[in-house]
Symmetry: C2
Subunit: 493 residues, 2 copies
Amino acid sequence: MSSHHSLLTDHCRAKSVKNTHQHSLEFLFHPSSVALVGITTTNPWHWTRTFLDALIESEFDRPLYLVNPKGGEIKGHKVHTSLKDVPGNIDHVIGLVNAHTAARLVEECAEKGVRAVHFCTAGFSETGEDERIRLESQLVEVARRTGIRIIGPNCMGIYCPQSRLSFTPSFPKERGPVGFISQSGGNSIYLVRQAALRGVRFSKVISYGNACDIDETDLLEYLTNDADTRVICLYIEGVKDGRRFRRALEEATKEKTVILLKGGTTEGGARAVAGHTAALAGSRSTWDALCKQLGIISVCNLDEMVDVLVTLLFLPLPRGRNAVLFGAGGGASVLIADEFENRGLRVPALPKEIIAQIQEFTPAAGNILRNPVDYSQNMMDAESTSKTFDILARWEGTDFVVTFIRTGQFVLPWLSESRMNMLVGRFGVKQGHFPKPVAMVLEPSILPQEAEAILAAIRECISSGLPVYYSFAAAANAINLVLSHAKKRSETA
Amino acid sequence: MSSHHSLLTDHCRAKSVKNTHQHSLEFLFHPSSVALVGITTTNPWHWTRTFLDALIESEFDRPLYLVNPKGGEIKGHKVHTSLKDVPGNIDHVIGLVNAHTAARLVEECAEKGVRAVHFCTAGFSETGEDERIRLESQLVEVARRTGIRIIGPNCMGIYCPQSRLSFTPSFPKERGPVGFISQSGGNSIYLVRQAALRGVRFSKVISYGNACDIDETDLLEYLTNDADTRVICLYIEGVKDGRRFRRALEEATKEKTVILLKGGTTEGGARAVAGHTAALAGSRSTWDALCKQLGIISVCNLDEMVDVLVTLLFLPLPRGRNAVLFGAGGGASVLIADEFENRGLRVPALPKEIIAQIQEFTPAAGNILRNPVDYSQNMMDAESTSKTFDILARWEGTDFVVTFIRTGQFVLPWLSESRMNMLVGRFGVKQGHFPKPVAMVLEPSILPQEAEAILAAIRECISSGLPVYYSFAAAANAINLVLSHAKKRSETA
C-alpha cells in the first residue's frame, strides 16, 4: 500500500526531528481558514448546522466560509454557491456533501489550494455495499493524487480549543492536557461532555471514522509528539496496520499515559464495528495482552475512561493502597468498604489512639468511629468535622482519604443549596491542603429540584482540584486502575 | 438464648396456620395509633423531626401523638410531656430518646398497653462499648418481660403505604409488590427512592438495625407469608441464627423471588458491619453458595438491586437471550453490543430479508441496518421509525428489543422537551403493544437545564410499563441476572 508507505516515511522523518520541527500533521490543528461545504440553508436542525453552531460558539477567529449551491445567508454569514467563488484562500474544508459527490469536492479543493478535508459524510465502506466501498476508494485515490489529506469520512473531525476548532456546541473553550483519538463521533462527544463536567480539559480530540487516509496510527504518533498532550485516550474499533499501530503504542506509552477503550471485543460488537467504520475488530485476548504488556490502562466503557482521567489529573498519586473513607451512613459505610476492598484497595482499621483523639470531641451515638468513619451526626458541625478529617489525613496508616456524600439517601429540604454548601465547605478545600490526597464521591441527582444544588457542590469540589466520582464503585475502580498502572510503570522503569 | 427460642416457637405456630390466620407480626404494619417519643421541639432540622414530617406527608390517618418533657406544640400537634399523659390508647411507639433512657421508655410503654416500640436511637451494641452493649441487653430484658416487641434499635422502622406508615418524606403513597428488609436505614431510603423513580412500588419496607428482638428471619418469614409481597429484597449485614435464616430463605424462595445484597463481604466491610449493627458478617463464599443453591438473585450494590427490580416487574420474561438493540449512534451501537454479549446475552445478525424490508423505506447513509440498528438519521421520522421497530420486534430471531437513547452524546437544544417527547413517542408505547418485550436505556442528565425534559421522557416510558435503565451496562447486567434466575427456576421446578 503506497499510501501507507508514504505515511510511514513521513512519520519517521517527523519523529527523528521531533524536538526541532513540527509533526507533519500539526497543520491540521491550526487551519488559517475553514469552509463548511454542503451546509444546509433551509433546516436549522439539520446535522450539517452543528458544525457552524460549534464554530460560532467556540469563537473561531479566522475566516469561515459557507458553501451551498443554493446560496443565501445563515446567521449573518454569506453562503457561497461554490468553493471557487469563495474570495479568500481556504486551508481546511469540512465536507458535508453526500458520498457521491465527495471525490469531486476533493478535486475542487485541490484547485483552491486546500490542504485538508474532513468528511463528516457517511455512506461509504461502512455500509458494506460494493458501490459505496468504491466511493471511498475514489476518495483515497483523489487525495493521494492531489496531496490533500482526508480526515474520515464518517466522523466529527477536530476539536482543538487552542485554535478554537470545535465540532459540537458546549465543548469547553479552555485547553487541557488530554488528547483523545476516537473512531466514533458520538463516543468523542460523550467523552468530552462527561469529562468536561468533571473538570477535564483537552488538548486535541480527533474523531476519525473510516480512516481512509489519516488513521489511528498517524494520530497516535502525532499526540505522542504533541507537547500539549500528557494523557492519550483512545477509542479504537479496528486498526489498519496492526504492527505499525503496536509500534506507535510502544512509543506513546514511553512518553505519556495511555487509556484505551476497545470497541467490538464480542462477536456482536465486532459486527457492529464492521457496520460502523468498516474496521476489523480483532480478538479481545490480543488487545488485553497488548495493554498488559505495554502498561496501557484498559477500560470497559466511556464512563470508566472519565473516572480514570479525573484520577490521573486530580488525585496526586497515593503512595499506597490504604484508604480512609469518611462520610455519612452506616449502610453506606459497609457498601463503600466492600467496593474498595473488592478492588484490592485496603480499608485498614483505625488504631485505638486515633479513635481516642476523635472521641475527645465526638459523641458515640450515631457516629461510627472506625474506618469507614460514619460521621452522620456531626457532619454539619464545621469544627469537629474538620478536626476529625485532619486527624484522619495525618494518620500514618492513611495513603489517601475519600469523602462520600450519598445524596440518594437524603431528600429535600436536606439537599438544599445552603446545606450542600456547608457540607462541601468542610472537605472541598484545595487539593494539597491536607497532607494526603483527597477524593470525593458525590452522587448527582436526576431530579431537577435537587440537581442544581448538587451540581453546584460538585463544581465547587472540582474547582478545588478534587477528583469527583458519582458512585462508590466508580471511585474504587478508577483508583485501583491508576494505582496498578503506576506500580507497573515503576517496576518496569 | 431463650429470647430466640420464644421467637422460634412463635413463628412455628404462625407458619403452621399461615393460610387461615394472620402472621404474628402482622400487627406491626397496622398500628391503631402512633406516638413519637423524644421528638425535639426546638430544632426543625433535627433528625427526630423526619418521622413527623414523613407521617404528615404520608397522611397517616390514625391518632398521632408527640411526646417530649418540654411540652409545647409542633406543626399544630400538641406535645405531651409524658407517655402516660397521652389521653388515648397507644399501639405503636417510635422511640427517639437516647440510649440510656430506652429501657425505661419500654417500661412506660408497658403501662400504656403499647404493643411495639421501634427505636431509631443509636448508641447501643454497635459502638462496641461494654456499657452500651449492656444498654441493649437491658432493652431485650424489658421487652421479653413485658411482651412488647422491639424493632431496632438503630434503624428507621417501617414503611407501609397501605397503612400510611412512613419514615422518610417523599416515599410513594401507592402500594406495590416489593417487600424490602434492610439492616441499614440509609440503604432502605436509598433503595426506595431510586426504585420509586423507576416506577417500583412497595408492600412493606422494614429497616431493622441491631435486631435485638425482631430479626431478619422473623421479617423474612413475615414477608414470605404476606400476600401483598411478590418480590423480597434483602440487605443483610449479618444474621442472628444462620440455620434458622437459611430455613426461612428456603421457604421464601419457594414462594417468591428473592434478591439479596450482602453487606460486609470483605475484611474492611465486615469491620464496618461490626461498627454499624454489631453483626457478624460471615464469609463471602458461604453467601455466594447459598444464593446459588437456593436460586436467590445476588446483587453487588443497591443500583443493581433497582435494575433487577425493574426487570422483574416491567420486562415480560423474554423466551430467550436474543436481543435486538435499536438506537442512535454507531459508537454507541458497538459499545452496547459489547456490554450485552459480555454478559451472555446475544445480539444476532439480522437476516438479509429483514434488512431488505427496512431498506425499502430507509436511506443507507447515516443509518446502520445491522444489529444493533443505528437509526441516527431517521429516528425523528415517526413513520419509518415505527415501521422499522415493528419489523424488528416481529422477527422470529428476536426475543426482546432494547431501545437506547444516549443523551450524553447530545446537547441542548437537541435535548429539548419537544424532541424528547417525539423520541419517546416512537417507543414509549405500552408494554405489550409489540409482540416482544421492550426495554429502554435512557440516560438521565445531571445538568438542570437538561434534566427536566429527560426526566419527563423517563417518566413517560415508565408510565407505559417499560423498564428503564440508566446505562448500557446496567440493562445488560440486570436482564442477564433475571434470565439466568428464570432458567435456574425452570430447571429445578
